[in-house]
């Protein structure tokens, strides 16, 4: 019985922490993300974290990665979340995961090394306009014509759409119920990708238009069916929740520190129960979401059938509690928390960004109810 991290994982955490503290403190995050017309992340950082092995963490050693799993990824994601590190790390991780899980050996050799070494950026395109976070929401049409597949449709809220070189696209074969996953490369004729302005400047979401995009049949992942798409929604929810709980913990630390030094009525405001009790509740929520996230990650690594339930529990709790935590972060700070200059709002925006991503609290609670036999 050991529901904790190994020494290696703790070491990984402190190395990630060290790099982010040194290379991308919040002033740097602001500089990168507030730049008009900028990419929203630093290419230099991207190459650096590739060299540090973060991009290939869960890519098999055969393809140049470290061959680790989601528990290790969660360690990294909690830390990048804590730093609000702007990068396509989650998107890239999901694309690599899709190709590794559902692609052929040949496809893995073709794409995984470049996703692990930072030379190409990946993402997944699952959601469509109605926002249904499940395979049922996939309408984008894929029509076979000889050795080619023609994709037509739109994808919404695609992570890092503009930056992505390889996009794993979910599609529906003709009018059938059969679903698939295809890898579309940047620059393919008929493909248009653009990022959209968002409330959280540290996260990029965009829109993808596919107008009779022709891709070779060998770009279709052989194991990419409805269950595969569902699985990607699940690990996507896990990844963004891991990041968000890291951000939430940072918000809690920021607010606790402020409550210790801000004097009102001749006492640090943290003396008053009106301040200390919300902080205690934030702590309860952070600890609880962490536990749920760690367990879900373990379920991915061990192929547990319980994964959908474990993920939905984590995401439901996080989507409900963390935005509240963000709001309390602002309120407990008072006026200073409302300013652009102070950092509190950066965390609020991240936890608000989390709320609908890969299914909101309502969606996941309903799934928990159904999986629980109700």
């Amino acid at each position: 019985m050991n529901f904790g991290f190994t020494e290696e994982q703790e070491l990984l955490r402190s190395e990630v922490r060290k790099f982010l503290d040194a290379s991308c403190p919040l002033e740097q995050v602001r500089k990168i993300t507030e730049e008009a017309g900028g990419a929203g992340f630093s290419r230099e950082h991207w190459q650096h974290i590739a060299d540090l092995g973060w991009l290939g963490l869960a890519i098999p050693e055969l393809h140049g990665g470290a061959g680790l799993g989601w528990v290790d990824l969660v360690v990294v994601l909690e830390e990048t979340g804590r730093s609000l590190f702007p990068s396509p790390l989650v998107s890239n991780t999901l694309a690599a995961h899709a190709i590794r899980r559902f692609g052929s050996a040949k496809q893995q050799s073709r794409w995984l090394p470049s996703l692990g070494n930072g030379s190409r950026i990946g993402t997944v395109a699952l959601l469509e306009e109605d926002g249904l976070p499940s395979p049922d929401g996939v309408r984008l049409a894929g029509r076979s014509a000889g050795k080619q597949l023609t994709l037509t449709g739109e994808k919404w809220l695609v992570g890092d759409a503009a930056a992505a070189d390889l996009i794993v696209v979910a599609f529906r074969k003709g009018k059938s119920k059969e679903l698939g996953l295809a890898v579309v490369e940047r620059g393919t004729p008929g493909l248009a990708a653009r990022d959209l302005p968002g409330i959280d400047l540290t996260k990029r979401l965009g829109r993808l238009e596919l107008d009779r995009v022709k891709i070779p049949r060998d770009a279709v992942l052989p194991k990419g069916n409805a269950a595969a798409i569902q699985h990607l929604f699940d690990v996507g929810a896990l990844a963004v929740t891991a990041e968000a709980v890291g951000a939430a913990e940072a918000a809690l630390q920021l607010t606790s520190a402020y409550a210790k030094q801000r004097i009102q009525f001749k006492h640090p405001i943290g003396t008053f129960q009106g301040v200390k009790h919300p902080l205690a509740e934030m702590y309860v929520d952070v600890q609880s979401v962490q536990s749920l996230v760690y367990y879900a990650a373990w379920c991915v690594d061990h192929g547990k059938k319980e994964l959908p339930l474990a993920v939905s529990r984590a995401k439901a709790y996080a989507s409900e509690a963390l935005p509240r935590l963000g709001i309390d972060t602002i309120q407990l700070h008072g006026g200073i928390g409302y300013t652009w200059e102070y950092d509190a709002h950066l965390y609020l925006k991240r936890v608000k960004w989390l709320r609908p991503a890969f299914g909101d609290a309502d969606w996941h609670y309903e799934r928990v109810a159904a999986l629980g036999g109700l």
Partner: protein, 382 residues
């Protein structure tokens, strides 16, 4: 990460299962229950976490968890009958008691010969326990005790009480408190049961009027009482038993929802009911996993203290919520009681008896103070 137990631990689990198969009371007859207790005692499952030299089981942390897990799985009766003796009186005696006290009390607690009750709270000191004012004045070989305790569960059925008294007025409230073990039939003790809002009488007021207590019945040194009541015995902190209880209650709420109608349709199809059931499910699972994280830290030899308030807070909310949810699922008839209500008023009772656990072990607000002050390092309350 690894949720498996060692082969040794699994062998222990097999042993426990075997025991359960043999002795678990099937029809709830008194002689079956008595046999269950006798066999549990013989197996040293009663006081399982206690050291072997005092008659306990010397169970390791993981064995403690396994035992509780297996018992919860089959809804087995408690091991041992002296609830407070096993929960905290015994551990305090083991840690601070004289050889004589250990020999006098520990076997009786393990055998469940009689009940213990706990005299901590007073009318003027509830959450602020250290403000207690029941006085004990030394007079020769006795202490003379005067004062009043309140919320003393099962005082009317107990033979002994573990009592906190003030032996010295002190600047620091935690000093000058002493722990005494007092026989309930001592002259000068009066017990007055209190009726709770569910209509039952489980707790009482206890009055002390010049009660003489031999100095030999002092537990620990004079003035050491505060420390004495906070046992450091290695109990596992996984909250596994509480989690199992909540899971069972939630299963029963689900069953209730399936057979109830709410606003003209199955309550199980009502989106509000579904969301609340799921919300409770998620929080119970969070408790389970939080508990496993605490246990892991204990197994690594780390101290786990204030963190357990996280699960106490989660549990407090769940105990209230599940009772409320059940009544809302029942709809209009949820306000009826006893034989007129579904399941003979079981949910009405639950919805009116949560304070026992929610307030009993320290109110939620006190738990929040513990987290804020001892984990987050915020300044102490005045």
């Amino acid at each position: 990460m690894d949720f498996d137990f060692t082969p040794e631990d699994e062998a222990f689990r097999a042993e426990v299962r075997d025991f359960i198969k043999k002795y678990l009371p099937k029809k709830g007859r008194p002689e079956e229950l008595a046999e269950w207790q006798r066999q549990a005692r013989a197996k040293r499952y009663v006081g399982f976490s206690w050291p072997e030299e005092v008659g306990g089981g010397g169970g390791t942390l993981s064995q403690q968890v396994i035992l509780k897990e297996e018992l919860a799985r089959v809804k087995a009766p408690a091991l041992g009958t002296c609830f407070m003796g096993l929960a905290w009186v015994g551990p305090s005696i083991i840690e601070y008691g004289s050889e004589e006290q250990k020999q006098k009390f520990i076997p009786d607690i393990l055998d469940g010969k009689y009940q213990w009750c706990t005299g901590y709270s007073e009318p003027g000191s509830g959450s602020d326990l250290a403000a207690l004012s029941t006085r004990a004045v030394r007079d020769g070989d006795d202490y003379v005790v005067n004062g009043q305790k309140i919320w003393t569960s099962i005082a009317m059925w107990s033979k002994w009480i573990i009592l906190l008294v003030r032996t010295e007025a002190s600047e620091s409230k935690h000093e000058g408190i002493t722990c005494l073990l007092v026989e309930m039939d001592s002259p000068g003790i009066t017990v007055r049961p209190i009726k709770n809002m569910a209509g039952g009488s489980v707790f009482a007021e206890v009055f002390f009027d010049n009660v003489r207590v031999p100095v030999a019945n002092r537990l620990g040194e004079e003035g050491q009482g505060w420390k004495v009541t906070v046992s450091a015995l290695a109990h596992e902190r996984s909250s596994i038993a509480e989690v199992a209880g909540l899971q069972r209650t939630l299963d029963e709420v689900r069953a209730l929802a399936r057979k109830s109608k709410k606003n003209g349709r199955s309550a199980a199809a009502d989106p509000g009911v579904r969301a609340r059931v799921a919300r409770a499910d998620v929080r119970i699972e969070a408790m389970r996993l939080n508990g496993l994280r605490f246990l892991t830290r204990q197994l690594r030899g780390e101290h786990v203290g204030p963190e357990t308030s996280v699960n106490k807070l989660q549990r407090a909310k769940l105990e209230v919520e599940l009772g409320e949810l059940a009544l809302e699922i029942e709809g209009g008839i949820g306000v009826l009681d006893r034989e007129a209500a579904p399941e003979n008023g079981k949910w009405q009772r639950m919805a009116l008896s949560w304070p026992e656990v929610v307030i009993g072990g320290g109110t939620p607000n006190i738990q929040k103070n513990i987290i804020a002050e001892r984990i987050l390092g915020l300044p102490k309350d005045p």
